[in-house]
């Protein structure tokens, strides 16, 4: 069973990702509401895949991604972005993310991105 960490300040987005993945047997091991909390949970939980929103208060997704990459260069991270965040997406690509999910998204897109990330890791 693959273990997933969700980092997103929007409760509905966390709810959507959880609702898409849990019925398929993925275990949601944690939900963080900003980058700083996400880094702490990543260290403690060591998830197989992390979904990471870009725009968040306190510490955004790009800064969290840099921190996580320093500690875990091969971590499977899927960035969650909006259509108009092209510059941020480019920065995230340079930092080496597994995939992007562009908001608004449907359940199939979340499942596909997570499954691909897990397949690549194995």
């Amino acid at each position: 069973m693959s273990r997933i960490l969700i980092i997103d300040d929007a409760m509905f987005m966390r709810h959507m990702i959880r609702s898409a993945l849990e019925p398929l047997g993925f275990e949601i091991v944690g939900e963080a509401v900003n980058g700083a909390q996400g880094i702490d949970m990543f260290r403690a939980l060591k998830p197989d895949v992390t979904t990471l929103d870009i725009i968040m208060p306190e510490m955004d997704g790009l800064e969290a991604l840099r921190n996580i990459r320093q500690e875990a260069p091969l971590a499977n991270i899927i960035m969650v972005t909006a259509v108009d965040q092209r510059e941020s997406m480019l920065q995230a690509m340079r930092l080496g993310v597994s995939d992007f999910i562009v908001k608004p998204f449907d359940d199939d897109r979340v499942i596909s991105a997570v499954q691909k990330a897990i397949n690549r890791a194995s």
Binding site: M11, H15, A82, D84, D106
Partner: protein, 193 residues
């Protein structure tokens, strides 16, 4: 007015596509037109109503200033939450507010990008904020926060279609004098390019 109508048709088409994607086709928006309204008129109309509504406010451009307030009637709030959360999620007010924020994000992004394209301005959106209050109070709060606000705001009328029912929604657009002048100076017809 014609140019704004054309821009708004494009904006709502983009928003409807994203709403369709988010809800797997279970929620659509029907644009019903727009009109300028004087601040005095808006305040007297909305401030006189006692109904508590939900509003999603966000900044779309910082300089010049462009802000929006999307107002959901109690029926629209309930309909949107039911579609996206199911009956089980309706009791969680924070989660319902988060649904409205996401819908506000969809319309805010479409409006910001649509208007920025024609006005040649930079989009700078803020995270959407949700409040529950009388519409007049929310409008007054935004009016007080926009520097150099003109005498009129733009009111967009729409209906949110959620399954078997649909509910009225409105988006109030606030802009400063500089932006209003740019809107008024737009050509009367959008180029086909």
């Amino acid at each position: 007015m014609k140019i704004i109508e054309e821009i708004m048709h494009n904006v709502f088409s983009a928003a409807d596509g994203n709403l369709n994607r988010l809800t797997a086709g279970r929620m659509r928006v029907k644009y019903e037109g727009c009109q300028y309204s004087s601040l005095e008129e808006i305040t007297s109309l909305d401030g006189g109503e006692e109904d508590i509504v939900s509003g999603v406010g966000m900044t779309l451009m910082a300089s010049p200033t462009l802000m929006m307030l999307m107002v959901f009637t109690p029926e629209a709030r309930l309909g949107a939450a039911r579609i996206l959360l199911g009956e089980g999620g309706l009791s969680n007010a924070e989660l319902v507010d988060s649904v409205l924020q996401e819908i506000g994000n969809i319309f805010g992004s479409a409006l910001a990008n649509g208007l920025a394209k024609y006005l040649d301005e930079q989009v700078k959106t803020s995270p959407p904020e949700v409040a529950m209050d009388m519409a007049g109070s929310m409008l007054a709060s935004i009016v007080g926060s926009v520097p150099d606000l003109g005498d009129e705001i733009l009111l967009l009328n729409m209906r949110l279609e959620t399954g078997d029912s649909d509910s009225a929604c409105g988006i109030h657009i606030f802009f400063d004098e500089k932006l209003r002048e740019k809107i008024d100076a737009l050509p009367s017809v959008i180029s086909s390019e």
